[in-house]
Symmetry: C2
């Protein structure tokens, strides 16, 4: 297993950079894998510049700063709400037009025969949309494929993934998700919404700092924490659930202030969404929708559930866990297949088209051969009831499941009258949709797995409800949906809240929670959650919550990388340029030591830590000691200069340093972080891990008992170890 993962990860890497190279020819192909492995640094760089600037700031200044942070959060909330609203409305409109056209066509041909023309029309419409979606993703921004949640999880974990929070990604993601949902694929729009929220948050927080160019700490704050309010975007989708989701998935440590900001952004986002939806529905100012995912309210009876139902729910949770594990395993194999054989953009587009055509064909076939006719209520809630071969005043029940956007199908499964579905219909639907959804996730389209999971679960849940004759099938559909979703993505706390919010009924909180926990436990026995599988397939150095349980005997000495490339406090420019240009090591942080002879292995005493990005800015501004002496009016480098360069530092190759300048010296004292976190070499792995995780570190200097640098622990060194079936195992992560 570990071997496979390793191999795949390698080819994955090569493919991705290859693909990106084709799509974006400006980027240097060889640069790609290197960028991919970078970490983010959430730790504050408290150098002298920072301290001076902080000292200049008055008490009032801090107040303003605080207010501006809230404003930024509000702005993030507003924009994400707007985008969510846009996606929602466009999808509704376009899907409505599509289904209307196909419905009319089907009705025309039902009597005269020749329904194959309707099928072709349907399949062509789907393929057209999916083609657009797949082309923009595959050719312009491959990172926008999929739900984006694994990428955001990695980003919040501190792994730098290139282009994941760019504006271009946002545009492609938004258009892509509209195309794939309207294109009738078995996808949801929630994951991509979360991703686009993260882009907005990153963009607003950085954009502000680079465009207004006067604000002091906003960018600092947001560079460090802030990709978390990011996920407040989830709040556009769901209100409280979004907040919890971002915490459960993202936050490294719980910070009350941060929580409030996320909460605030979430609130603004929900409000914006509500407001614009109310305008769209011509009910200006009547705000009532609790969020975007809304499965209609479960009108609770006085007795929501009975004691004897608890074991049934738990059993459903176990089934959900099993089915979820099956889904994940199938998708894992499929993804490996895709990484090996389907890596050219044109192949990816063709696969997407194939899936779109197959989805339409299968759906049509299922509807065509179904003879589950149900009477049409006068106050029916079906949007596009297809009569097909049913008697007048009846509709085809299979069509309510297939001939609809997935979200509406879920709602129908939850709320339609008992008896609206034939058990056979539900069984067949579950079976086909399960494989369709599994095939779809991982295509080169922008697509989430949230709603499809719910739909699969709701279908078999309702089936269970029907088989237990006495029960309300809608309630069992809800439990099935929770079980299936929990079995696939394996979140508990936030999912419970999301489900409760989506159904508007708190009473079901306890059974939903039970179902989710069971699904998680059963599923975890077989295989990891879907997002974790995809993260693992990218072989990024992802840090979990805790060090593996049996790793206390490992110490920093065994874990660390050594020898370390150190720099002197006053260093020759030539040495720095050479160190930075050395592509074989390509370190990102350099301990600064008192006296150190390069390439000697004699350890020297630690004075500080400096980052590659800081060195590049210093080189760019030519802050050399000799130059400073010659010109008296040398402009002093400000913290602003560093911040302006963020987040796109030029590569070292683009900085020209003349031969004369190579002989100059650079004084790093003022710019380095004088008090980096250190550990002695006997520190155990769990302690190092805890420090890393709790403080969001990127580099941890290992020192001996005389404070001399003997090693450096990075994220990669820690992510290697994991608990396998036979105790602690060491993964071979890519060594670049």
């Amino acid at each position: 297993m570990a071997n496979i993962t390793k191999k795949v990860s390698w080819s994955s890497r090569a493919d991705e950079s290859g693909a990106a190279g084709e799509g974006t020819p400006l980027l240097n192909g060889s640069e790609q894998p290197r960028l991919f492995r970078q970490s983010l640094d959430y730790d504050n760089i408290e150098n002298q510049l920072f301290l001076e600037e902080e000292r200049r700031l008055s008490h009032m200044g801090f107040r303003c700063l605080e207010i501006s942070r809230w404003v930024v959060c509000g702005l993030i909330g507003f924009l994400t709400g707007l985008i969510a609203c846009f996606i929602d409305i466009v999808v509704e409109k376009l899907a409505g037009i599509k289904y209307q056209v196909v419905k009319e066509n089907i009705e025309k041909f039902t009597e005269v025969g020749g329904l194959s023309i309707s099928l072709i029309l349907w399949a062509l419409l789907n393929c057209a949309f999916v083609m657009v979606g797949a082309i923009i993703v595959a050719f312009f921004e491959p990172i926008a494929a999929g739900s984006g949640i694994p990428q955001i999880k990695c980003y919040l974990n501190g792994i730098k993934i290139p282009r994941v929070v760019r504006l271009k990604t946002l545009v492609v993601k938004v258009c892509g998700v509209i195309c794939s949902v309207v294109g009738g694929l078995a996808v949801g729009k929630e994951g991509p919404m979360i991703h686009s929220g993260a882009v907005v948050a990153a963009g607003v927080s950085q954009g502000r700092s680079t465009s207004l160019k006067r604000d002091f700490k906003v960018s600092v704050l947001f560079n460090h924490y802030a990709f978390m309010p990011a996920t407040a975007r989830a709040g556009g989708t769901m209100f409280l659930g979004g907040v919890l989701f971002s915490l459960e998935e993202g936050a490294s440590f719980w910070n009350q202030m941060l929580t409030w900001r996320i909460f605030f952004a979430s609130m603004i986002s929900t409000f914006t969404l509500n407001f614009f939806l109310s305008i769209y529905n011509n009910k200006l100012g009547q705000l009532s929708s609790p969020g975007l995912i809304n499965f209609g309210r479960f009108e609770g009876d006085t007795v929501a559930y009975n004691l004897y139902e608890i074991p049934l729910f738990i059993a459903m949770g176990a089934v959900g866990g099993l089915l979820g594990a099956l889904f994940n395993v199938l998708n894992y194999w499929l993804t490996i297949f895709r990484i090996r054989y389907v890596h050219r953009p044109c192949l990816q587009v063709m696969e997407a088209l194939l899936v779109a055509a197959v989805t339409a064909t299968v759906s049509f076939t299922m509807i065509y051969f179904s003879n589950d006719c149900q009477p049409l209520d006068p106050d029916h809630t079906e949007e596009y009831p297809l009569q097909l071969f049913c008697a007048d005043g009846e509709y085809n029940s299979m069509a309510t499941a297939f001939f609809n956007t997935p979200e509406r199908s879920v709602r129908s499964l939850f709320h339609n009258q008992p008896g609206s579905y034939n058990p056979l219909t539900l069984g067949l639907f579950t079976l086909t949709y399960f494989f369709l959804a599994c095939w779809t996730y991982g295509l080169a389209v922008s697509a989430g797995v949230f709603i499809p999971s719910l739909l699969i679960g709701a279908a078999w849940g309702r089936l269970c409800g029907i088989l237990l004759t006495w029960a309300d099938p809608g309630k069992y559909a809800l439990m099935g949906a929770a079980a299936q979703l929990g079995g696939i993505v394996r979140m508990t706390l936030s999912l419970t809240v999301i489900m409760v919010e989506a159904t508007g009924n708190v009473t079901y909180g306890l059974p939903i929670m039970l179902v989710l926990m069971t699904a998680k436990i059963v599923g975890d026995y077989f295989v990891e959650g879907l997002y974790d599988i995809h993260i693992k397939l990218q072989s990024v150095p992802f840090l979990h919550w805790e060090a593996p349980a049996t790793s206390h005997w490992l110490t920093a000495r065994e874990v660390m990388s050594s020898p370390v490339t150190c720099l002197n406090r006053v260093e020759k420019v030539g040495t720095i340029v050479d160190t930075l240009s050395n592509t074989s090591t390509n370190h990102n942080g350099f301990p600064v030591v008192a006296i150190f002879v390069l390439f000697s292995i004699q350890p020297a005493k630690l004075c500080g830590l400096i980052l590659r990005s800081q060195l590049i800015v210093l080189l760019k501004h030519k802050v050399f000691v000799e130059l400073a002496r010659s010109r008296l009016t040398q402009r002093k480098l400000q913290l602003k200069d560093f911040r302006d360069a963020y987040p796109r530092f030029p590569p070292i190759q683009s900085i020209h340093v003349s031969q004369d300048e190579r002989e100059c010296m650079m004084d790093l004292t003022e710019f380095m972080n004088p008090t980096p976190y250190t550990v002695p070499q006997e520190t155990s792995l769990p302690r190092v891990f805890k420090l890393f995780r709790a403080l969001g570190l990127r580099h941890l200097v290992v020192v001996d008992d005389e404070n001399k640098v003997i090693g450096l622990v990075t994220r990669k060194d820690l992510a290697r170890y994991h608990l396998g079936k036979h105790g602690l195992e060491e993964l071979q992560l890519a060594q670049t």
Copy 2:
């Protein structure tokens, strides 16, 4: 302000120890303040013993350990659910009997005259209950007074408060809260429930480790994290809200595993509660109650609220913030008064009796003089409708507010038909109840402020709703309740969830959140939250979430305590005993150094850190080097020996060390933590703070650039600094 706080804190300390000294004569009075200032150590002691024991544990062992932790969590959940259920049922029963008796009496005397007899009966009944409650609190366990939330907050923050998690405290708390609620005081039972949950959690997690004596890490786990699942008890009260509450108030850092455990305990607790309540209500197995605080379901209209109502809600939030600040300021002065003049147990009991009598009298007077008669619906929901001087078929509306348990009053205010209350009734009720609640909080009875706050807010909120003629008064009552509660306790995230859960309607999430945020912002402008005020009055070294904003220029050198009492790696027993017996310093952690001359100020190289508790165990078992040499079969000290001693280490005075033994040596190498966290002396305060807070440290060793010990930072050193009106201020915390 700072000066006042300081003074008060001093007298507070003296008084508390005095009171405790009287109540519990076994405790040494002078011991008291010292114990009070201890910190908890959440950091793992990774000494050689620990590592050896961990190495012995197989992979299977870890599995079992993991399972046993879940079992412990389940047990905690079960017991807390049981206690919550017990409190709830007993309160309902007793209050029902009381109100029935008084009601019959009032009805008897309404016609014949002589209602003063009814008043006396009512007041006497109240006083009887309150007397019992006050006596057990004041004389037997003063720590059980109040809501217990400030104490639990401190405990989770890492401050050791003596007897806060003892069984005796639990018993007194449970009985006390029943007495005070039945006694008709303006109190709620939620805070005490949270406290009793914490006691259960602490008890179960420790009890297991000391009684079964084979389990390895349960106690380790629970000593470190575990007072957090503690507050999962809140989950007995509310399901998700409880989880969030424990995180918002308690957790130092967000840990996914921990969250799941809390969630699980919460679930079990809710389930237990539901199950037993269904038995009590003779509806075995029909589980539907989402939690204990249940204000009835708000049946959402299709339009929950309108855009123009948002400013109104915000205005209500501001009013709530103002009223909350007023409440807090009044209660602050009252508490200072109490600390100065009402510190004897008998005085405290008398004050409680006075409040009980006044509450009854005021309530009766208000009811008596009210002429707000409302027609009695055939399907009325009032439990004890008082006719008094109303016409037949009518009831006194003021009595629904006063003549009821506070929880039922809140429910009536939320859900009664528009027009059930006269505006004058509501205004008078708000006014009187506000002062009664303010006077009551801080009495020597076990009492929470949660429900009274909601009740005050619901009353003036409903008043607002009535004055805005077009509106649904119930909705405004809900917003008012949220505003008032937010203004007093200043929590946002968890309160929103709690309110949403209690009303069973997600739609109101956004406006509730808005109201809570406004209330918090407005309230924070004037004064801190009620719990924080009470924490400050105890002058405990409470660490907030972040270091004060303007403190980057402070370094570890200025913050640390120095010189530090260090111990040698191999130290003379006499020296250790003397160091531990030195009551003037009374340190709890000692850096272990290579070579060190006691009372010299020459720094020495750090090798480890050892705790007072460890040293005491070593002394108790006489683990001396000379003894070990003389006896060959010296039993090796196990980790178990340390764990068995937890959490009640004997004081140093109780350990007898003979004069011969004083000359022996002790080798600390095996027992000390060989890799304590250290910082260089130039580290800024925020960095130190972050390390402390994120890792739950108790001691942080400050070293120079040669790894020599030059100082020690403790919680007290950090808690001194806070951001006042004029920038950074240094508090003089008690120096013991």
